[in-house]
């Protein structure tokens, strides 16, 4: 079982590295392709020796819903960007910073990382620290905190863990 899994991760690493090589080089003559093969084999060998070919570096188990989540995150990103740009042009009097504890429901470290990074990625909110089941968030205004308290984003990230 364990061995099967590690072969799956090695194959996925080889595929990803080959695609990156082909996408970036754009040359298909023998010399450059064989150089690519040598580079891919060398990187896979080194990663194997370092023991970093696992589900942490190759999150294959993330469900397909991540694409839907990315699109939703993009929409949220644009909305919160517009809010922050408005605040910038209105001046410092329009911000009213707060810190708050936000409850999180994710079980896995990957889910917590996705949630915390999503919060930091949207302008207006930054994750300062993650404890066991709460997160410390700094926000430019209380509205953002109130939105996070509704747990909308939290539920969407938790669905990715299934």
């Amino acid at each position: 079982m364990k061995k099967n899994n590690s072969i799956r991760y090695i194959v996925s690493l080889i595929v990803v590295l080959s695609l990156i090589w082909l996408g970036n080089s754009g040359f298909f003559n023998g010399l450059l392709l064989s150089l690519g093969v040598v580079s891919v084999i060398f990187v896979v060998f080194m990663s194997h020796r370092l023991g970093i070919i696992d589900e942490e570096s190759q999150p294959l188990h993330v469900s397909r819903r991540i694409v839907v989540y990315w699109l939703w995150l993009l929409k949220t990103l644009v909305k919160s960007n517009i809010t922050v740009i408005k605040r910038i042009w209105k001046g410092p009097s329009s911000i009213n910073p707060v810190v708050a504890r936000i409850p999180i429901s994710q079980k896995t470290e990957m889910g917590q990382a996705i949630y915390a990074n999503s919060i930091t990625l949207t302008p207006g909110t930054t994750t300062l620290d993650v404890e066991d089941d709460t997160m410390i968030v700094y926000a430019l205004s209380n509205n953002a905190i109130r939105y996070l308290m509704t747990g909308d984003m939290d539920r969407r990230v938790s669905r990715l863990e299934e």
Binding site: V84, I88, G91, I95, V98, V99, N117, N142
Partner: protein, 127 residues
């Protein structure tokens, strides 16, 4: 058709440039370190992405350029929250505290206490 794509590309580039300038202005207008970080993240996320998408429309069938631009967008979107978080946490551990507004809830006022001692209670930030 190519005029349409060119126009769209220029619109995206100009909008992205405007957002980047807004981020830079916010960095100077906002009062303390933590709020300035938010202004900078506007430049990171929407400004940078719009400029790169605008550039993606400028290529004439050169797919390697497209791949490189997509990789740049991915790396920016993955690394910028990590950098913001590292900056904020380093500032907190260094004794810097955000200036909080009037809407701060009392029960959450003590959350920043776990980050160690406060250095020279914002003498530099008051100005």
């Amino acid at each position: 058709m190519s005029i349409f794509i060119d126009g769209l590309s220029w619109a995206l580039l100009i909008l992205g440039g405007f957002i980047c300038v807004s981020g830079a202005i916010g960095m100077h207008r906002f009062p303390d370190f933590f709020s300035r970080m938010h202004a900078a993240s506007v430049t990171d996320t929407l400004g940078g992405s719009l400029i790169l998408v605008g550039l993606m429309l400028q290529l004439d069938g050169e797919y390697t350029v497209l791949v490189k631009l997509i990789l740049i967008v991915l790396f920016i979107l993955l690394t910028s929250p990590t950098a913001s978080h590292a900056l904020a946490k380093a500032a907190l551990h260094g004794g810097l505290r955000p200036k909080l507004g009037s809407n701060q809830e009392e029960q959450d006022e003590d959350v920043l206490r776990s980050f160690g001692p406060v250095k020279s209670e914002d003498t530099k930030n008051k100005e």
